[in-house]
Structure formats: C-alpha cells, structure tokens
Amino acid sequence: MTEVTRKRPEFRNINAFSDLTTYRMTPAAWVSILHRASGGLMFLLLPLIVWLFDVSVSSEISFAGFTSAFSAGVGFVPGWLFKLVVLAIIWAYLHHLLAGVRHVYMDATHKVSKEFGKSTALATLVLSIGLTAVLGAKLFGLY
C-alpha cells in the first residue's frame, strides 16, 4: 500500500446538510442521481400509470373519463395538477430511458473516457429536458 492511498480520508455518517452540499456535481453525477430519482418516482406512481392504461383502453366511456381527467380534473385533483403529475412521469420516463441507453451503450462499447462521459451526460440532460418541454407545451395546449 502506498503512502497516498493509506492517508485517504474516510467519511462516515455523512451529514445531508454539511457534507452533501459540498459535493461537486458534474453532469454525469446529475444524470446518475436523476436516473435513480426518476426510477423511484415512477415506482411510486405506478398505480397511476396502470390506471391511465386502464381507462384509456377499456372502453369508449372510460376513454372519455381519461381525456376529461386532463381537462376537468379527476376527484379532488384539478386538471392542471393532473397534467403536471403526468408531465413529471413523462420527464421521468424520458430521462430514465435516455440515461439507460447511455449506460448500456457504455457497457457494450467500453467507451468510458472522461470526455465521452461528460458530453453524453450533457446530451442526456439537454434531450430529456428539451423533449419534456416540447411535450409539456403540447400537454398544456401552447401549440
């Protein structure tokens, strides 16, 4: 063991406020944590996703309920909030998919240079947020 490796600092009991805020978040780090966050979000919203599938394919009548959830809302949830939640699912799916493709591509081709990691991480963030903005504008009727 060399002198340098033996003296590496060890962090235990990481404090969420004093330690986590000092981390240098590179684009790849953002893609990584958002990959996990988007996956967890979709896991929690899974019943809503199955419900959307249910009402959209079951019958003409249920399909009308599906579309009215976006315009008039459903239950105590107003339409705009419903659209916002669906937009969050859209973002989560896009980010998770694109980050996953980046992951599998790196595994398959062994393209793991520092520069490649940074450029593809930026591409993932720009594409997922950009596509979410485009679809969100459509969802909220801006075009």
């Binding site: 996956g39 896991f43 019943p47 199955v50 959209s56 399909f63 998919l97 996953g100 599998v104």
Partner: protein, 121 residues
C-alpha cells in the same frame, strides 16, 4: 488470506450481482424496443388518434403476449432497481425487509391489474 476470487472464490449462498446486472440491461433493452414499437404504432396509425386507434394497438394476440412479457420484464427491472435503492440507503434489517416486502406487493398488485386490463381489450 486465501484466494477468494475467480474459480477459487468461496460463495456460501451469495451471488455477486452479475445475474441482476445482466437482467437489468436485457429487460431495459426490451422496454426500450417496446416503447419505440408503441410510438411507431401511434405515429403510423390511420385516422384520428382516439379510443379506436389506441385500443386497436393492443388488440392482436401477439401484441398481448408481447405486452405481457414487457410487464414481467418491467416488474423484474423495477424490483432490481428498488432493491438497490433500499440496500443503499436503508440499513436496519427489519425496515429493509419491510420495504422489500412492500416493493414486491406493490409490483405484483400493479402487474395483476395491468394484466387484467390487457385481456379486457
């Protein structure tokens, strides 16, 4: 210490995650291809996009079978992912076990519902 890697490794009931690692990528690839297929079906459908054209995508028997395979893949994919999250952040064994059980029940319940919907079309 004796060699504990390669063919000499001692593995008392443990696996090294390679199976889950590979399964995660295979199921992810299937989910990506299915996503592209559904998008293509919507884009190339004739007439206005409404109930008829949307439900028609899932009507053929081959699509039902494929969608079922995708549901199962999704369930396994989410299980591996959520288990990783719990293992990283939750240390007390009792709470972790409870969250694992919750994850399985949540996923199986959603999958059962989705399968029922699929064969209602």
């Amino acid at each position: 210490m004796a060699v504990n890697y390669g063919t000499q490794r001692v593995t008392p009931g443990a696996h090294f995650g390679t199976r889950d690692w590979l399964a995660q990528r295979i199921t992810a690839t299937l989910l990506t291809l299915f996503t592209l297929l559904v998008i293509a079906e919507v884009v190339f459908s004739t007439g206005p996009i409404g109930y008829e054209s949307w439900a028609a995508i899932f009507a053929p028997q081959w699509m039902k079978a494929l969608t079922l395979a995708v549901f199962v893949s999704l369930g396994y994919h989410v299980w591996v992912g959520m288990r990783n999250i719990w293992m990283d952040y939750v240390k007390p064994p009792g709470i972790r076990l409870g969250l694992h059980v919750f994850t399985i029940v949540w996923l199986v319940a959603c999958m059962g519902w989705a399968v029922q919907v699929l064969w209602r079309i």
